[in-house]
C-alpha cells in the first residue's frame, strides 16, 4: 500500500442546527482497504460518508480522493458509487435498467453497457433476474441489485451506508462474507457505515470508531479489541461489552502500587474473568443467573461494591444461582483507563503482575 492515502479527510467539520454532524475530523483511508465507520446512532458516521460522497458540503476542512481535492466537487465528479441503506432502487425500472442507470446517463455505448451489466449480474448472482422489477425481489436480492449498481461503473471507491440493516440476521451473515469477497476480488476501496460492531469486526481492515462527531479510535479490529484507546472503545467493541469497574471497588493489594486509585478504572473482558471459590480472588460476587449457549456459558454476576458483570466461560458451567464466588483474571488481561478522560493508561507490567493474580490454578 502506498504512503499516500486514497481518501483523506483533513480537519473536516460539518454541523447541523438540530445537532449531530462531525467536528474537526481527520481520517486517512488506504487504497484497496475496507474501512468501517462505526459508532452509536448520531455519532456522525453517516454524515462522514455523505461528506465523502459529496451529498454534504463541509463547513470547514478538506476532502481528497485519489490525491485530488474534491471538497467542492459534485457527487458525480468524485468517481465513486454508493449503496444506500434503503438501496434506493428505482421501483419503475427493472433490475437491468437500475444497474445500468449511471452508464446510460454517462452515455456508455449499448454494447459496452450490456457487457458490463452481464458481468455485474454474474458477480452478484443475479443472472436471469434482469427483467424483474425491484418490487418482485426479496430483500436479499434487492440488496444485490444495489451492489451490482455500485460495481458496474468500475469506480475505485464504493461507499456503503448500513447496507445490511434491512436483512434478517441469517442473511446478514452470509452477505457480509460476499461483500468482503467481492471487494477483495475487485480491489475496490470500500467505506462502510454500520452501528453493528460484529459487522465491523468481521469485515474491516480498518475501523474508525466515532463518537459525538469525533474519532474515538482508528485502527485495525484487533487493535481496537485488544488495546482500546479509550474506555468508550473498550465498552463499544466486543459482545458482551467490557465491564468497567471503578478501581476503588477493588481491595488495595490488587491495585498497581504507584497509581492514584481514585482516578483509575479497570476494564475486564468477559472471557478474561475466571470464577474461583469464595475468598480466593480480588472481587467477591454472587451468581445471579447463567445462560448456556452451547460452546460457552454466560454467567451473570452481582459484584459487591461494583457494577454487575458477565463472565464468559468455555463449555458448560453448572454453578447454581445464588452461589458466592470470587473473581480473578490473568495478569495480562486488565485494561486500565483514566476515570475522568477515559484514556487508556499503560502500566508497566511489574506494577501489576503478581499482586493481581492469586492462585490462578484454583478453578
Amino acid at each position: 500500500m502506498s504512503a499516500q492515502p486514497f481518501v483523506r479527510l483533513k480537519n473536516v467539520t460539518r454541523t447541523f442546527d438540530g445537532g449531530g454532524g462531525v467536528d474537526n475530523l481527520s481520517i486517512d483511508i488506504a487504497k484497496g482497504s475496507f474501512t468501517v465507520l462505526l459508532g452509536p446512532s448520531g455519532c456522525g458516521k453517516s454524515t462522514t460518508l455523505r461528506l465523502i460522497a459529496g451529498l454534504e458540503t463541509p463547513d470547514r476542512g478538506r476532502i481528497e480522493i485519489g490525491g485530488r481535492d474534491v471538497t467542492a466537487a459534485g457527487p458525480s465528479e468524485r468517481g465513486l458509487s454508493m449503496v444506500f441503506q434503503s438501496y434506493a432502487l428505482f421501483p419503475h425500472l427493472d433490475v437491468a435498467e437500475n444497474v445500468v442507470f449511471g452508464l446510460r446517463v454517462r452515455g456508455v455505448a449499448r454494447k459496452e453497457r450490456d457487457k458490463r451489466l452481464a458481468e455485474a449480474l454474474a458477480l452478484t448472482g443475479l443472472e436471469g433476474l434482469g427483467d424483474r422489477k425491484p418490487g418482485q425481489l426479496s430483500g436479499g436480492q434487492r440488496q444485490r441489485v444495489a451492489l451490482a449498481r455500485a460495481i458496474v461503473a468500475d469506480h475505485p471507491l464504493c461507499l456503503m451506508d448500513e447496507p445490511l440493516s434491512n436483512l434478517d440476521a441469517k442473511l446478514r451473515h452470509s452477505v457480509r462474507q460476499e461483500i468482503r469477497a467481492l471487494q477483495r476480488r475487485l480491489g475496490m476501496t470500500v467505506v462502510y457505515v454500520t452501528h453493528d460492531q460484529t459487522e465491523a469486526m468481521g469485515m474491516a481492515d480498518q475501523i474508525v470508531l466515532l463518537q459525538k462527531g469525533r474519532v474515538e479510535h482508528m485502527g485495525p479490529p484487533a487493535e481496537l479489541y485488544e488495546q482500546p484507546a479509550t474506555a468508550f472503545t473498550a465498552s463499544f467493541i466486543g459482545s458482551p461489552a467490557m465491564t468497567l469497574i471503578p478501581a476503588a471497588a477493588l481491595p488495595h493489594q490488587f491495585l498497581p502500587s504507584s497509581a492514584r486509585v481514585s482516578e483509575l478504572q479497570l476494564g475486564l473482558r468477559a472471557e478474561d474473568i475466571e470464577l474461583m471459590p469464595e475468598g480466593r480472588g480480588p472481587l467477591a460476587a454472587t451468581i445471579v443467573s447463567s445462560e448456556f449457549l452451547g460452546a460457552e456459558t454466560y454467567v451473570y454476576l452481582a459484584v459487591d461494591g461494583a457494577p454487575p458483570l458477565i463472565a464468559r466461560l468455555p463449555g458448560r458451567d453448572e454453578r447454581a444461582a445464588g452461589q458466592r464466588v470470587s473473581l480473578g483474571w490473568s495478569p495480562a488481561s486488565p485494561h486500565w483507563f483514566d476515570r475522568e478522560s477515559g484514556k487508556r493508561i499503560t502500566l508497566s507490567s511489574d506494577q501489576t503482575s503478581s499482586e493481581l493474580v492469586s492462585q490462578p490454578a484454583a478453578v
Binding site: 428505482f90 449511471g102 422489477k133 449498481r149
Partner: protein, 313 residues
C-alpha cells in the same frame, strides 16, 4: 323452524354442522348486502336511473300538444350531427380540453416542484397556489370579469400603460374562448398541484441522491425517475381534467353565456341551453348520451392501456 330442528336431531351430527355453516354464510352475505346498500341505493337513484331514462328519452321525438312524442330511433342523433352548431361546440370543447389539460398539468407540476423544495415561506407559497381552487366558480369568474373589462379592467389598464388599445377580451370571437381557457388553467392548476405535492412527498430523497451519484443532472432525474414515478398522479389528474372539461358551465354563465357567435359554447352549456332554454329535451338527451359514451371510452382506455404502462407502487 320446529320441524327443521326436529329433523336435524334425527340426522347425523355432521348434518347439524352444515346447517350452522349455511346459516353463517347467509348471515355473511346479508351483512355484505347491508354494507353495499347505501351506495347501491344512492347510485341507482342518482346515476343509474337518470342514465337509463336519458338513453330512453334520446330515442323519442319531442312531444307537443298536437303530436305526442313517438319513438324515432336514431333520428335525434342524426339531426344533431347535421346541426352545424354541434360541430362548433365539439371543436370548441376539443380546443378547450386540448389546451387547458396539458397547460394546467404542466403548471401544476412546476408549482408542486417549487412548493416542495425547501424555500422560505413555503406555507404561504402553497396557500397562494391553492387559493383559486378554494374560490367558488362563480366568484372566480366574477373576478376575471373584472380583469377582462374592456378599457377599465386590470389587463387593459396594464396594456394601456404601454399605449396598447383596449381589447374586448370576452366580447370578440377571436379572443373569447382563449380568455375562458386562461381562467380554467388558473383555477385548475392549483388544485392539481395539491395532488402532485402529495405524490412528491412519497418519493424518498434517496432517489435524488442515488441519481446524483450516478451522474444524473436535474433534467435527467426528472425525465427518468421523477416523472415516471408521478405517472399515477398524472393519469388521475388527466382523467379529472378531461371530465372537468366537458363539465364546465358555471364560468360560461358569468363570463360569456356561450357567445359571441357560439365562440365559447361548450358541450354542457349547449345541453343546458337545448334542455332548458329551447325545451328540446330529446336532443339534449342524445347529446348527453354521446358524452357518456365518450367518457366511457376514456375510462376503458385508462383501465386497459394506461394502467398497464404506469408503475403503481
Amino acid at each position: 323452524m320446529a320441524a327443521a330442528s326436529g329433523s336435524s336431531q334425527d340426522a347425523p351430527p355432521g348434518f347439524t354442522m352444515d346447517q350452522i355453516a349455511l346459516y353463517q354464510r347467509r348471515r355473511q352475505s346479508l351483512y355484505g348486502w347491508m354494507l353495499a346498500a347505501p351506495a347501491l341505493i344512492l347510485l341507482t337513484i342518482f346515476a343509474l336511473i337518470p342514465t337509463v331514462t336519458t338513453l330512453w328519452a334520446s330515442f323519442y321525438s319531442k312531444g307537443t300538444v298536437r303530436r305526442p312524442s313517438a319513438f324515432n330511433g336514431l333520428d335525434n342523433y342524426t339531426s344533431l350531427i347535421h346541426d352545424p352548431a354541434f360541430w362548433t361546440v365539439v371543436w370548441n370543447n376539443a380546443l378547450y380540453a386540448g389546451i387547458t389539460i396539458p397547460f394546467s398539468i404542466a403548471i401544476a407540476l412546476a408549482m408542486a416542484l417549487w412548493a416542495n423544495a425547501s424555500i422560505p415561506l413555503r406555507g404561504v407559497v402553497r396557500g397562494a397556489y391553492f387559493t383559486p381552487t378554494m374560490l367558488p366558480m362563480i366568484a372566480a369568474a366574477n373576478i376575471w370579469l373584472f380583469f377582462y373589462t374592456p378599457g377599465l379592467g386590470v389587463i387593459d389598464s396594464i396594456t394601456g400603460l404601454f399605449g396598447l388599445p383596449p381589447v374586448n377580451w370576452l366580447g370578440q370571437p377571436q379572443t373569447a374562448l382563449w380568455s375562458v381557457i386562461v381562467v380554467t388553467i388558473w383555477k385548475e392548476a392549483g388544485f392539481f398541484m395539491i395532488f402532485y405535492l402529495a405524490a412528491l412527498q412519497t418519493i424518498p430523497p434517496d432517489f435524488k441522491e442515488a441519481s446524483a451519484i450516478e451522474g444524473a443532472g436535474r433534467f435527467t432525474y426528472a425525465r427518468r425517475v421523477l416523472i415516471p414515478l408521478l405517472m399515477p398522479t398524472t393519469a388521475f389528474v388527466f382523467i379529472n381534467a378531461l371530465i372537468n372539461s366537458v363539465k364546465l358551465i358555471d364560468h360560461l354563465f358569468i363570463l360569456t353565456k356561450g357567445g359571441p357567435n357560439n365562440a365559447t359554447k361548450l358541450i354542457l352549456y349547449w345541453i343546458w341551453e337545448m334542455a332548458f332554454a329551447y325545451f328540446d329535451r330529446p336532443h339534449a338527451a342524445a347529446m348527453t348520451v354521446l358524452i357518456l359514451l365518450f367518457l366511457g371510452a376514456v375510462a376503458i382506455f385508462q383501465f386497459r392501456v394506461l394502467d398497464k404502462r404506469i408503475h403503481y407502487r
